[in-house]
């Protein structure tokens, strides 16, 4: 039965070749039990990718179960290509986030570009038109030359792909910390729009129905990409460069248009993207979901390289490919449809009723395995979990007592920190306007897109402050969800749902697994409190190098709905004379803050005190105040604290501000602490009374001024910070280009 050129099953067993594919001894014997014989090389390949962490979630399944996945608006929870949330008027938002960390660490341009390509396919394979892309990025410090190379490469890869396919890249975040030096995080999110009736599923049902392969030919690129994504990066990783695929956004653009036409064809049965583990995962998952089997004739697979083996074809992660199941007799209609878009479409197999995946090649059966064993029966691990020493130490340390001797200098320094500084250098390389729906452009708390033909808009954001997660995964996890929701609320949106991308080190390390457990507890609880179910996402483990693991970084992608275009709110101050309100008291929360990082060179201590109930209540009040049209601008206080947030509100406004700090025992805390759940809001004089009734805790601290000066006074009226907005804006805008230009 094995294909002649391949290694014999006996050799695989005796030489333990499975170990090279990331299959453990236990897993290998499990495969033997399932097959009741030794697997051949091709079959072992199928199991190795389908049972990789990337495809099977074998180390994370247990924690993913905790997420709330249901809600009134949920039309599709986790399990399909993307989650789907009802947004009224028979329309739905389809969204998902996915990581492409390891490919980007090795080959930043193509790694990031194909990350964008993959997430787009997850959205349009659901039948939705992709309307927006976001990216959540983490790198090491910008003083390191390799980090600069990765940063520039990733950004141009995202631009190169997203710009060409004509989907606007409207938002996201970029943060910089040492722990990401050798292992950057590149998480791409896509949001699509769909009418309920067009919703598709990736299923292969109806015995005898043809399986149609569409798109680019299969090459040897990306073989074992999913396995590569499921191990730590090492010095040998460079040799895995061939595991990184190469993207072709032009073909993707054609695929989008053709597939959106195909999904409206009544004879389409199912459609799925060939993503991680390519032909293997798409065919096995489609059959498994339908309770069917699938037979593929590999001689018919379109190939762009010669003499490819069944193993190579099944494991290739060549980009821009889709798998469709269509009704018998409609073959010509579909192939014609794709041909009109210049795409090849070829029948490569059929749906069977035996719940097995059978592969034939040159007249031989080269694989015959139960589909469920690939798609469903991967082992589920419950790794050991141990609270790290550092956590106890951080809890015991208490909040550090920091004092800003020269607040003006501190503010200037903070505004130049790459994590706080303007990301214009990044987003100006992205076409964030194509499709002409982008109302709130990158740089605000959340991106906002109008929905053409309605009075509604969608708001979207990605967030996770991993420093707090490093200090305290549980509290940090709650805070990540809360911050995402706060950002949406500031833009005038009601948060609806979450997609997450869980980036961690190796789960086989008990301390890392503890981080995963605790942080997902925090995320789950916050998602419940804020009524934002998790409708999809991705897990990326093994994000570590010889120097250690990344901070636990569960990136929260959140989508919200704005009922009326009039409710769209931005962070920038609007009119001189408006009252400035501060909402939420600053405590001495310096652990994990930007101030602690710049003054002490490291972070330590307990995460800020965080009250989920208070957070939820405050969000409701602010959103109500915005909907009652009493708010001119709203901005949440995050990295750097109050002073940088206030400065950001002034940039590009041509206006200034004169405020007096009233509360707080410590001026440093008032200016720079990162106590969560806080906002700065501006209100017109005539709306003040109504606003104060709606948000009684808000405290008026000053006015927006005609003079473009940022004036912050102590409670006795003496100026603490008194700088021109232009000066602040220049350092904030210039910081990242400056880092990239400097030679060292």
């Amino acid at each position: 039965m094995p294909y002649i050129d391949e290694i014999t099953p006996k050799t695989i067993e005796t030489d333990k070749l499975y170990l090279d594919m990331g299959v453990t001894e236990d897993e290998f014997s499990r495969i033997q039990t399932i097959l009741n014989r030794l697997p051949n090389y091709t079959e072992l390949g199928l199991f190795s990718v389908m049972w990789s962490e990337h495809c099977s979630y074998k180390h994370s399944k247990a924690v993913l179960k905790k997420f709330p996945v249901e809600g009134d608006r949920v039309l599709q929870g986790p399990g399909e290509g993307a989650g789907v949330i009802d947004i009224g008027d028979n329309q739905a938002a389809v969204f998902k986030m996915e990581s492409h960390n390891h490919p980007s660490a090795i080959e930043p341009y193509e790694g990031a570009a194909t990350g964008v390509g993959g997430i787009l396919r997850d959205i349009f394979s659901m039948g939705a038109r992709p309307v927006a892309l976001l990216n959540s990025l983490r790198f090491g410090e910008l003083t390191n030359p390799r980090v600069k190379y990765l940063f520039e490469g990733v950004v141009s890869g995202i631009a190169g792909y997203g710009n060409c396919v004509g989907v606007p890249t409207v938002g996201g975040e970029v943060q910089f910390d040492d722990c990401y030096e050798g292992n950057p995080l590149v998480n791409a999110m896509c949001v699509g729009l769909i009418d309920h009736s067009d919703l598709q599923q990736g299923i292969a049902k109806g015995t005898g129905n043809p399986v149609l392969y569409v798109g680019a030919g299969t090459g040897r690129d990306g073989i074992h990409g999913a396995t590569f994504a499921s191990e730590e990066l090492s010095e040998q990783s460079e040799s895995k460069r061939p595991s990184v695929q190469v993207g072709d956004p032009f073909t993707e653009k054609l695929l989008i248009e053709a597939c959106l036409e195909a999904v409206r064809h009544p004879q389409l049965v199912g459609i799925q993207d060939m993503g991680a583990a390519g032909l293997t995962s798409s065919s096995a998952e489609m059959a498994s979901k339908a309770g069917s089997g699938i037979h593929l004739n590999l001689d018919d697979v379109p190939q762009r390289e010669e003499k490819m083996t069944p193993y190579e074809m099944m494991l290739s992660e060549s980009q821009e490919r889709m798998l469709l199941v269509i009704e018998q007799g409609s073959e010509k209609e579909f192939t014609d449809l794709f041909e009109r878009w210049g795409l090849q479409a070829k029948v490569i197999g059929e749906v069977t009723d035996n719940q097995r995946m059978t592969l034939s090649f040159q007249g031989d059966t080269v694989a015959d395995v139960p589909v469920d064993s690939l798609a469903e029966d991967a082992p589920v691990y419950h790794p050991d979990s141990v609270e790290p020493e550092r956590f106890r130490a951080f809890q015991a340390a208490g909040q550090p007592n920091l004092t800003a001797e020269d607040p003006e200098e501190i503010l200037l320094t903070l505004l130049q920190q790459p994590t706080i500084a303007s990301k214009e250098w990044v987003y100006e390389q992205y076409d964030y306007m194509v499709q002409t729906n982008t109302v709130v452009q990158p740089g605000s708390d959340a991106a906002v897109l109008r929905m053409r033909g309605t009075d509604k808009a969608l708001a979207m954001t990605t967030d996770a402050n991993s420093r707090f997660l490093y200090l305290d995964p549980y509290t940090g996890g709650q805070m990540a969800v809360a911050e995402a929701a706060r950002n949406l609320v500031c833009s005038g949106a009601e948060p609806l749902g979450v997609t997450d991308c869980l980036n961690y080190g190796s789960p086989e390390n008990p301390e890392i697994y503890w981080e995963l457990e605790r942080s997902t507890d925090g995320l789950s609880e916050a998602c419940r409190a804020l009524n934002t179910p998790v409708v999809g996402g991705n897990v990326s483990l093994y994000n570590e190098t010889a120097k250690g693991a990344v901070y636990p970084t569960p990136v929260v992608g959140m989508v919200g709905l704005i009922d009326k275009l009039d409710h769209i709110t931005t962070q920038t101050v609007k009119n001189a004379g408006d009252a400035v309100y501060s909402l939420g008291k600053a405590g001495n929360d310096f652990a994990g803050s930007e101030l602690q990082k710049v003054t002490e060179g490291r972070i330590y201590g307990p995460a800020p005190t965080f009250d989920l109930a208070a957070e939820t209540e405050r969000q409701t009040k602010v959103l109500t105040a915005i909907r009652k049209q009493t708010v001119q601008s709203a901005h949440d206080i995050s990295e750097g604290g109050f002073a940088p947030a206030l400065a950001e509100k002034l940039f590009s406004s041509g206006l200034g501000v004169d405020v007096t700090l009233t509360q707080s025992e410590s001026l440093t805390a008032s200016l720079f602490s990162e106590t969560p759940s806080r906002y700065i809001i501006t209100v017109r004089e005539e709306d003040r009374e109504r606003f104060e009734k709606l948000v009684p805790e808000a405290e008026m601290i000053g006015r927006v001024t005609e003079t473009p000066q940022c004036m912050i006074r102590g409670n006795d009226g003496t100026p603490l910070i008194n700088r021109s907005v232009q000066e602040l804006e220049n350092v904030w805008r210039g910081a990242i280009p400056c880092y990239l230009k400097s030679e060292d």
Partner: protein, 227 residues
């Protein structure tokens, strides 16, 4: 008035162009696929932005060989308004309907942002609704927008009022900050900035709308007899 919106494989601003004409201008618009051969039923032709044929080889280089380009040339020769925006401009250059060539932006990076343009010439069928010298805000989104032409071509363009829009600073390395130029007979305009993205103040600017209005106003004048 009926506008054709040409769709090449890889065009991605075709819908934006269509909506600008249909929704904001209130005129008729229809998509025309790259393999069609006649544009006789249209009064004006719009070549949208995007990455036609992936912009492989060179931006716009492959699109010039599309069957529809013969019809575009015919429409241009017949004096119909032909507007190429961004990739559409690049296609017009490659097809020889406008002089010059496009190079990579001088910073070698894609640039997407709203920019200020100066209306250098308002005595054209595309700009009559602007004031001479009017400053307008229109977004750019391109990687290859660095316009180049010979000194002789530049002199001819300049002397004949064929430089229609300029950037107010050196955005991308373009010769004399050129953002948009006309052909000799004044009915073919190529420009890198996207007027179709500036037709609604909700998205930041409606300064592109007068450009489309100019096309309609001038067409109405010359076609008064038929209406």
């Amino acid at each position: 008035m009926k506008f054709a919106v040409i769709v090449f494989p890889g065009s991605n601003c075709d819908k934006d162009m269509y909506y600008a004409v249909k929704n904001e201008l209130g005129e008729e618009a229809e998509y025309v696929f790259h393999d069609e051969t006649s544009l006789d039923r249209f009064d004006a032709v719009l070549l949208p932005g995007g990455f036609s044929y992936g912009d492989y080889l060179r931006s716009g280089a492959i699109a010039q060989f599309s069957p529809v380009m013969e019809a575009v040339k015919k429409a241009a020769a017949a004096g119909k308004p032909v507007l190429g925006v961004c990739n559409g401009f690049q296609v017009l250059l490659e097809a020889g309907l406008l002089p010059g060539a496009m190079r990579r932006n001088k910073g070698l990076k894609f640039i997407c942002k709203p920019v200020t343009l100066r209306t250098e010439e308002n005595a054209t069928m595309f700009t009559s609704e602007y004031k001479q010298g009017e400053m307008i805000t229109v977004p750019v989104a391109h990687g290859d927008g660095n316009y180049y032409c010979s000194d002789e071509d530049y002199r001819i363009l300049k002397e004949n009022g064929r430089i229609v829009f300029t950037y107010t600073d050196d955005l991308n390395g373009s010769k004399a900050n050129i953002a948009g130029i006309l052909n000799e007979s004044g009915n073919v305009l190529g420009m890198m900035p996207h007027p179709e993205r500036a037709v609604d103040t909700l998205l930041g600017s409606a300064d592109g709308l007068p450009l489309f209005r100019s096309i309609v106003a001038n067409w109405r004048e010359t076609h008064a007899v038929h209406r």
